[in-house]
Amino acid sequence: MLAILRKELSDHFTSFRCLILFLLVFLICGLTIYSAQQGIRSAGNEGFIFLRLYTTELQGVPFAFLFNFVNFMSLFFIPIIGIVLGFDAINRERSSGTLSRIMSQPVYRDSVINGKFLAGIIVLSLMMITSVLVIGGYGLRMIGVAPSAEEIIRIFIYLVYTIIFGAFWIGLSILFSILLRSLATSIICSIAIWILFSFGILVIAIGLGRESMETFQTILRFSPNWLFGQASSAILAPVVRTLGTISPAEMAYMLPNPLSLGQSLVLIWPNFTSLLSISIICFAVSYILFMRQEIRAI
């Protein structure tokens, strides 16, 4: 498996598409730093200034919620990286005839798919760690407030969470690359699912959940993107006290102070486990399909 992992990684790092993705990473870093610079002073004073670098929204623009790091990552960037890294994993090998060549070497069939999946996750992790560090580093210079130990732990948890979310998208796009022979169909299917989970579901939720906030929230929870978005804002913004809806009567009893790390983790735990399980299901399905597929069918 190491041989395949090595080859996949060197392929990724020398490819043009990876270069574009890294450029995109820097674009997002720039955007995040810019919104932080504009908005961080007007933010409240609940502490955790350093984390605000990642959650501050760009002020005074329509759809402002899209222009912060957390939402941008959950709705756009991670799904795109996942799709780009996985959509041609198996079908390109199949169409270029290299799959049967690899399969006739003394390697287990699962090493091929494990190697590809792992290589995707490594590239994704590198991109995420880079962007978090670039924002942190530049932000540190800009605001002059050092992160506390808890903030560093929260950022670390966020990164782990990101990688699991990315694994879902890599798994999904690899699944399509196993199911569909054509590269174009495979990428279109992945993109269709991405649009559905990012925006389609929002439209549905707005349509059906006009009367009740409860319905609105429930519908959004069917989308891994929104699940991840909610959970990541809870982990990066300790002031978020609940991911559900609360009545104005209950609101009165809420203390406007940040949650402890443990309580934030309790809050995101259901999101975390459901994301982890869909990532695992997605990978398991592709794994089983690939193991059972006849190599003959070229």
Partner: protein, 311 residues
Amino acid sequence: MNEKLAIETHDLTKTYDGTTVVDHLSFHVRENEVFGLLGPNGAGKTTTILMLLGLSEPASGSIHVYGYNPTREPLKVKRIVGYLPEEVGFYENLTTKENLEFIADLNGISPADTSRRIDEVLEMVGLTKERDMLTGKFSRGMRQRLGIADVLIKEPKLIILDEPTSGLDPRGINHLLDIIADLPGMGTTVLLSSHQLYQVQRVCHNVAILSKGKLVIEGSIDKLGREALAGGRYIIEVETAEPSTELVDILKKIKGVSGVEADGNILRVSTDSDLRSEIARTVVDSNVSLVQMKVHEFSLDEIYMKYFKEE
């Protein structure tokens, strides 16, 4: 030739969605020979090959490749067997050397050995100059030769080539066949599948002809010709200076001759064994001048045409 068996199959059967693709196929390949698996497209050649490699599971029957069962121990088989698929593909963004290095890496060959073996195999297939060229720019002939190099890099005991000559020009075919013909001398057994009979005839020691998944006939090419076309008889062509009907009658009386056919100056004598000396004596004794005499060699085409005409 060594009598040890490289491949042995017994009643091998494979069905896809209810259709039998390979039907009770039994054949064997000896070590250090070039064995041809022949048949029209869709005869089950590729399926048989995939089963030999453990890439496809037989419905019933047994296979042994150097004593290993490919279904149970695919990795052991793949370690000693090199396979060149019909549509061989390379990573087009990598150079010749990098493509070969990847395969060596998958086979767990050490980096020091890898560079030595790459030099050797590229030398053998005549691609030394293209060592650092991207394989995306290769012609079909070069790709096939690189395919052979790719298979040889792991120093296999058995090489399986699926339609290695398809799509090549005559020069490319000759070059490839020359490489294949040299392999048994290096201690490598070759199994090659083809529907191009002439080519196989040149390099194969033994052949098996498949049709609709069934083994039609197996054996060496001259034996096949006799069995298939002349019902196990020899056909001896006798050319005389002038045709003579008396000679036909005389020849028919020789013990072992079952028939004589006249075609101008040439007489075709069917016999049970090689009776050339008796025939020569008889012809000379009857005062007819003998121009030449030879045992008719059957080409694979004739064998092939005969079998597929019957269907």
